[in-house]
């Protein structure tokens, strides 16, 4: 897939060949836009980020930033990282341990020739903006995780980059700090004028911080879109599990979808041809006996596992189709739900939506 340079701030087609797999992703990002690369570990997201940063060259394709070809093997063009207008926030921040927070942030401007006093003044301003005005003299080892993350962000932004790259920016933080930092990061990214590419394996990070998501699995892009599109219409198992939906693929004729094993499902929407069917676990009701009135979408299933899922209990069931159902703890007790127990599962047609696959 080739991309035209149409004034987009970042246009990249990254092909990197590794022993395990070949990474082949295309992505664009407009000025002010935040794009998240989301995918399981080992999908190649960090490799893509390193290629954008210039730490590794692409084997094929090209990277164009603001109309400038910074990496294009076909014409032997490659711009070294130090000459790209980029800012990178690394997963473990990589703050220089022998420099104070102020000197860390001033490092970029000074490397580009700004005199020391001016660079330090700009650095102090940036640190103030991320709320660390009191920590100018602190060494990295004296900072908390959240503070270090903010210094790393300030350091990357202080060079006034055209492209901001973040590698798992919240992964090193504990759960509570992550919530606060995520909110602050969202604010800083909103204020940043250039394009941002963010790599993460956490869907919540992606959905909260990014305008657009690019799902990468096994080195390939499997779905792109905004958070709403991804969550309501997942295209792969991984994404579905990520957003907490039951997802199936089948053949639809009108309102009936035939799933593998000739299992028919009645859906609210009418489609023809290859479709995905998706519904949340909360839409599945469980009964000890076959519900009266034989509603559509009812079948016998066996409990495979029971686990906590927030306030509810998540029941994994096996049967004609594997399905996840959410029930209240009270209901689980009443139904005596435990692995091996046989129950009846029922799904309202109105909860099941089908949409074209591919």
């Amino acid at each position: 897939m080739d991309l035209h340079v149409t004034g987009a701030s970042l246009a990249a087609h990254i092909v990197v060949r590794r022993a395990a797999f070949t990474l082949d992703v295309a992505l664009t990002a407009e000025p002010g836009e935040v794009v998240a690369l989301l995918g399981p570990n080992g999908a190649g997201k960090t490799t893509a980020l390193r290629a954008l940063a210039g730490l590794i060259p692409v084997d094929d394709g090209h990277i164009v930033l603001n109309d400038r070809r910074i990496d294009d093997p076909a014409i032997r063009a490659f711009t070294m990282p130090e000459h790209r207008r980029i800012g990178v926030v690394f997963q473990d921040y990589l703050l220089f341990p022998h420099l104070s927070a102020l000197e860390n942030v001033a490092f970029g401007p000074r490397a580009r020739g700004v005199p020391r006093a001016a660079a330090r003044a700009a650095a102090a301003e940036w640190l103030g903006r991320v709320g660390l005005a009191e920590q100018l003299r602190a060494r990295p080892r004296q900072l908390s995780g959240g503070q270090a993350q903010r210094v790393a962000l300030a350091r990357a932004l202080a060079t006034d980059p055209q492209l901001l790259l973040l590698d798992e920016p919240l992964a090193a933080l504990d759960a509570r700090t992550r919530v606060e930092t995520r909110a602050q990061l969202r604010g800083h990214l909103a204020g940043f004028g250039g394009a941002t590419v963010l790599v993460t394996h956490d869907p919540l990070d992606a959905m909260m911080l990014a305008d657009r998501l690019v799902i990468v699995e096994d080195g390939r892009v499997v779905q792109t879109g905004d958070a709403a599109a991804i969550t309501t219409r997942p295209q792969t198992d991984y994404v579905a599990r990520l957003v907490g939906l039951n997802l199936y693929r089948g053949h639809s004729a009108g309102n009936t979808v035939v799933l593998p094993g000739s299992f028919p499902l009645t859906t609210a929407t009418s489609q023809e041809g290859d479709v995905f069917v998706a519904f949340p676990p909360a839409a599945v009701a469980l009964y000890a006996q076959q519900p009266s009135g034989s509603p559509r979408n009812t079948w016998r299933a066996t409990v495979a596992s029971v686990s906590r899922h927030g306030d509810a209990l998540r029941i994994e069931l096996v049967g004609p189709i594997p399905v996840a159902a959410d029930v209240t703890p009270a209901a689980a007790v009443q139904l005596e739900l435990e692995p091996g127990r046989e129950v009846w599962a029922s799904l309202k047609a109105t909860e099941a939506t089908s949409y074209p696959a591919g």
Binding site: E82, L94, A111, T159
Partner: protein, 259 residues
Amino acid sequence: MRVRAPLALAVPALVGLAFLVLPLAGLLVRAPWSSLPARLAEPGILAALRLSLLTSTLATAVSLVLGVPLAWLLARTTFPGRRLVRALVTVPLVLPPVVGGVALLLVFGRRGLLGGWLDATFGFTLPFTTAGVVVAEAFVAMPFLVISVEGALRGADARYEEAAATLGASRWTAFRRVTLPMIAPGVAAGAVLCWARALGEFGATITFAGNFPGRTQTMPLAVYLALEQDLDAAIVLSLLLLVVSVAVLAALRDKWIFT
């Protein structure tokens, strides 16, 4: 928290300590304490000490200027024959110092490969000069520094240099402002080893630079020659060198050398 040493470690450790310390104690016991002040005032002694300290410091400086980049080359780059190069760099460590001196003569001597050209062009030769002493000492001592710094570089995280690159630093700036400060303890340790080795060097010095008071007669040479006439004089010189070395080494704080 005080750590109790297990006997299996404590005993050999104490034996090792005794092994290293007893000869020094022998010097102290046998020293001619009554005539010490008079002997120390002899003119040749201070000249030899001053020369030793000067040449070993200069040799360390030369080793730093040439050795650190060499260590960087060995640690951070790949090129065909790198392992061979590293082996060659450590050869002066295993070469008997006198052999090193002869080898230096064959290259830098008046009729040597390079020395002949130096003599013809500038009328200058290294043997029998103080500069020659520095060259001989640097030859035997630089490998210590190179190995130490290479080890420190390999232990340093190269990702910090990547981070510096993404911030716009050239490779030289990244080396100067990020790598070098981070490996400073390793460099310091290497420099100390280098200095100590240079200070004690004898065989290469006397073979390449010869022996002349005030110009090429370092303390080790003075001790050796004093032994020819007067054991007591030799002991006094040895004590002096010992005291100066111990004073310098003890003044180095642990944290400057050990990360």
